[in-house]
């Protein structure tokens, strides 16, 4: 699998604030990545750096082997759908879709037309008079129909209702299956997208906490619930990421895959094993860092 993006030692300072702190990672071709993290973690800044919309304070970026800054060869192959995309003041939706094909070599008018109907975009309305969800729908359609070799979706669905979000996930998977490309999806709605992702990069306070295959993360943590004494004995020597308790009962979340034999042993010891979703794992890991001030 070839690498389409490589970042090494990437740092971005805004005055004294370090938004991205010495981050290194690679993005492989034709996979769906989740770029996850809390508000202000540095996700959008990283995407702006990767698309040449901002300059790094230090470090190297190679997109298709070249620097993206002011580089038409790179940018013609990149689609970046931003949460707060601005359109020219007097633009109606139909103007946006009339202009889009000239930016993207792989633009699919057929897909755009289909999605405009499905998302019920009011083509004749001024973009600035549209609802938040309708503006998001325009962005989502641009991102999908552009079929760019690398597509960034930065919180693409603010204001989109549940039906439209599901439509987005379904159309994304369908079109990706037929036209494989690299997709980087940044979102807070981790539960909704976790099954779509092949790889997860978790950012917290400008640094990478997790860079892992999504399948390896699934089931990599468990919550053990039971009598405090039994729970303590079971989690002894394991990587504990969260503790909770009430009376004589404990609930402890441990990081690390459990074997079938360990699961059976836990049940026989009267303990209950509760699966930890990707979203819960991410909440645990990102709050751990801030609350204890330590990096795992």
């Amino acid at each position: 699998m070839s690498i389409v993006i490589e970042a090494r030692g990437l740092t971005k300072n805004f005055g004294k604030f370090t938004a991205v702190d010495n981050v290194s990672f690679t993005i492989e071709q034709n996979r769906i990545y989740g770029l996850l993290g809390r508000n202000g973690a540095g996700k959008t800044t990283i995407m702006q750096l990767l698309t040449g919309q901002d300059f790094a304070s230090s470090g190297d970026i190679a997109v298709f082997g070249q620097s993206p800054v002011e580089n038409a060869n790179v940018l013609a192959n990149v689609s970046f759908i931003k949460e707060s995309q601005k359109y020219p003041d007097n633009f109606k939706a139909k103007h946006v879709f009339a202009a889009a094909p000239s930016f993207f070599a792989n633009w699919s008018q057929e897909l755009a037309d289909q999605l405009i109907v499905e998302f019920r975009v009011p083509m004749g309305r001024d973009v600035k008079k549209m609802s938040r969800g309708q503006v998001s729908a325009v962005g989502v359609i641009l991102g999908l129909a552009s079929r760019a070799p690398i597509t960034f979706f930065d919180e693409p669905y603010l204001g989109l209702d549940a039906v439209s979000r599901q439509l987005f996930y379904d159309r994304l998977l369908e079109d990706y299956a037929e036209h494989p490309r690299t997709i980087i999806l940044s979102t807070h709605l981790i539960d909704e997208v976790s099954d779509l992702l092949e790889h997860v990069i978790l950012i917290d306070e400008g640094r990478i906490l997790i860079d892992s295959n999504a399948e390896d993360l699934r089931g990599s943590a468990s919550t053990v619930v039971g009598k405090s004494r039994d729970v303590a004995a079971f989690v002894e020597g394991r990587d504990v990421i969260h503790r909770d308790g009430i009376g004589g009962l404990s609930s402890v979340t441990i990081n690390g895959q459990l074997s079938q034999a360990e699961r059976v042993a836990a049940v026989e010891a009267g303990l209950e094993l509760v699966p930890v979703s990707l979203q819960q794992l991410i909440v645990r890991l990102s709050s751990l860092e801030t609350s204890e001030g330590t990096v795992k």
Binding site: D195, E198, R218, V264, L273, P275
Partner: protein, 118 residues
């Protein structure tokens, strides 16, 4: 999908279940990776991993340019595998719970006999 286990394992199990209960006959075609991905709303690479797991085990085989098919004899093999696992996954937890409640082996045997079978 169950959150605690890898999705590709669950996809493989779902295909196995369909073979065991006869929904998918031996020598018949199974859905494509992309069809599984769309149906379960999962990443196609994940669906492919589940299908490949069964190809590696010889349960499914690939016909070039056509798709995936269930190998002859798969059903009997899967039933044998599941029967082996039945002891650890079902009988042991059952006995552990029975012991906790003070249910004797005789009582347990009676309960099982009384349970109307399908």
């Amino acid at each position: 999908m169950d959150e605690s286990r890898p999705i590709f394992v669950q996809i493989a199990e779902q295909i196995e279940n369909d073979i065991i209960d006869g929904t998918t006959a031996e020598e018949s075609q199974v859905p494509s990776t992309n069809e599984f991905a769309a149906f379960y709303r999962i990443n196609p690479a994940t669906a492919g991993k589940g299908v490949n797991l069964l190809v590696d085990e010889g349960i499914l085989y690939k016909k070039r340019g056509i798709g995936m098919f269930v190998a002859a004899g798969s059903r009997a093999r899967l039933i044998a595998q599941r029967t082996d696992r039945f002891q650890t996954e079902f009988v042991r937890p059952l006995l552990a719970e029975a012991a906790k409640l003070g249910i004797s082996s005789q009582q347990l045997a009676d309960m099982i006999t009384k349970e109307p079978s399908e």
